[in-house]
Symmetry: D2
Subunit: 253 residues, 4 copies
């Protein structure tokens, strides 16, 4: 399976490094706005030596997604650019039935509308937090809430000191569980990378679901899991819940 | 829904106290081997005042399950006695279509065979660890293992100093996840009531599922959950996985 | 060493049960306001059989502390009654050089003044939270704050759902570490007995000091530790920091 | 205060990056065996711009420690090289009263003997694990063991899957607390950077001291703390316990 990546910021780089070390997918190219690193070989950039991997870094200054799709055909395009990225390649990808995986966090309503339009012609997957662990936590928590609707739920998130505001993931967890924002506790201390804990308080027992981030490469794991589960999809609009649910209900073994 | 309880040791008492405080079920009677506390009123014994609750404690010295079923009909019989208990009431309960919930830990193969025979005529539920939280953990863990088959799994269990051997629950978790026994770490320190943690180590993130016991009343919560989910079952043989799975696959909301 | 206990509420009972099982101290009597359980044997009440233990329960309805001190002399009086208790026995205890250990949480300024007056004639120890573990945490945390004055500190406390307000212990921890009240997160869920965690966030590492309560008997452990460390004190006013500090600076081995 | 660093492997680099960002110390030079990066400017290498920092990277291929001490005098030499390093600069450093901080893990007896010889002429500090947090844990744990000699102690250490054997730090903790090796549980899962937890089990309460590593820069924090506490020392042999103890016994505020 061939993959192209749009966006090469800190997270984009971590995702590229994960894809390049994976056996199921090859990273054909990276397309970014800046010209820094243009034409660099990806395996060389990451110090990873595998004859099957030979992608390069391109800049939108000198090539369009359309041209790149022609020169270096891919099965998936992964988007870690910005909310605007989708408009530069969406149409062209859909025409070629290239599947789209977008990890952009802050799409507006019209952007999502556009994604859904594209999904009539190809498979489109969107997740604002594409980490496998966090999405698992979300689904496992929702199950527990259904099992025990009256359990007390609290969310604790810990991050490095400079992080401002409540973590978006914690807010999403609280919303999914229909828990008030006041039930989120935010710890800000030193260099904590990122931890989310959902506490389910029963009268005589406590259940805790915890996710700890080690590094940004976790986004890559999430992308690869999504891609793997989209291989057999022709078109349609998917999110993480759609691809994880089958694993919970025994239809996948 | 009317409930009778067989067995009144430390756990039986904790379970009785939980049932008696529940609105959906009333505790009609307790049947035990010993004559201690015979004829005592259950609401009075637990210092719980509710005019709907008026059960008493009986001893097998002076009454048989059969006679009790006639005098004080019930919908469920809950078994916290011993592996032998089922043979004193099973037949009679099945005949009357009284549903059976057994929490006996160490049934032998022939006992389970007997349970299955009974399940042809009434609903029979058996769980060797009837805690809701632990059973939830088991199922949620199995889902995560299916999602990420190559994740590293470790189980840590903590209990009070005197507890001998590896916790049976930890062993069951390891078996369910196909994890080697060497991957269970047992902590024995002071008066820790009971904690089980399943650690899922991904390269760039860690997921932890943790269950902490506060008191034995947690078994009562588990019994009530099982009973609630058996109300609409006529006959058949059930375990915790059977009644929890629907909550994971969106068929229950 | 002989001990008398004033106050026999839920915590008083737990403390009595701990003292009665200890080899270094014997519980000579309990004095309480109510006449319930009056004259009951303490070993019998707790189902504890030891020929050295033969204390009884007395009520202030029928005997004064003064009379009790004469009939059943003690080396220590332990106070788990109320802020008023000290005025009923303080003078008489000080005269007899009976050491006083008070665990009353909410003394007013004038009560503490009175304790200090008494401490001119006997050893007086007061701790509003007499748990050994929490007091250790306080001292260990203060050391770490001195070592790393600029570390980020957060306090997380977890308790059962019904507990109102921020835990007094968490407030005391925050004050001792000069940490703003806004840095305390309070989790209220189910039946959690009590947990306090102090998080020290460094840029490249995190240190956590955690105390989990299992049951009220922990107060008994704290009382016994205080008593043990007061044995060689003739008079003076002591708190937990006074008796713990020597263990931190190597003067005790 | 001027600092020179010997050794520039992965940990040496992390330490250099921490020193260079600190206001109290300036990094005058790095000396390494390899010629890779020779003559590179340190501020430039770390992308850190501060006119007070202007150190460079040197190689032992082209310069000796002795020459470097003359050209670029320092107050401290920090050793992250190998057990052999000390023999290349120890004599020369001691003569000039340059204080020595060594973080070499596996010195043999004769190496330590040599360090002690040098300490007759200058201040010599050695710590096989120079992390501030782990050393704090060691000392805080020893205090708690003295306070409660009969408490149950267990050590749990978690690391990435590939790490072989029991963590050296866990072994050191167990030795310091006189706890059997069988009381260490080793978890190996995914990419866990490093976590050490010391569990103190009391009958009615549990205390946990936990250290979590985020990145190797933590070694730099430890070096800077050691250096800060050696500024006023003329000569003598020191370890982490020596410099931490005063913070525990109130002589430092």
């Amino acid at each position: 399976m061939k993959v192209g990546l749009i966006g090469f910021g800190r997270t984009g780089k971590a995702v590229a490094s994960t894809i390049i070390q994976n056996k199921e997918f090859t990273l054909e190219w990276v397309l970014r706005r800046k010209t820094v690193l243009e034409n660099r070989s990806l395996p060389e950039f990451f110090g990873f030596d595998d004859e099957n991997e030979k992608g390069r870094i391109y800049s939108t200054e000198h090539i369009t997604p359309d041209e790149l799709f022609d020169m270096h055909p891919v099965d998936f395009v992964i988007d870690f650019s910005s909310t605007l990225g989708i408009y530069t390649y969406g149409q062209e990808a859909a025409e070629r039935q290239i599947k789209i995986i977008s990890a952009i966090s802050h799409y507006k309503k019209e952007d999502i509308h556009y994604l859904k339009e594209l999904s009539k012609r190809t498979a489109v997957f969107w997740s604002p937090n594409i980490t496998l662990g966090v999405n698992y936590l979300l689904l496992a928590s929702k199950s527990l809430k259904k099992i025990a609707p009256f359990v007390d739920i609290e969310v604790v998130e810990e991050h490095f000191k400079q992080k401002e505001g409540v973590s978006g993931t914690a807010v999403k967890i609280a919303e999914a569980l229909d828990v008030k924002a006041s039930k989120i506790s935010s710890i800000r201390a030193g260099g904590i990378v990122g931890k989310h804990e959902i506490i389910f308080g029963f009268p005589f027992q406590t259940v805790r679901l915890t996710h700890e981030s080690i590094s940004r490469e976790a986004f890559g794991t999430g992308v690869l899991f999504a891609a793997h589960n989209l291989i057999d999809k022709k078109k349609g609009y998917y999110n993480y819940e759609d691809i994880l649910t089958p694993y919970f209900n025994n239809s996948k073994n």
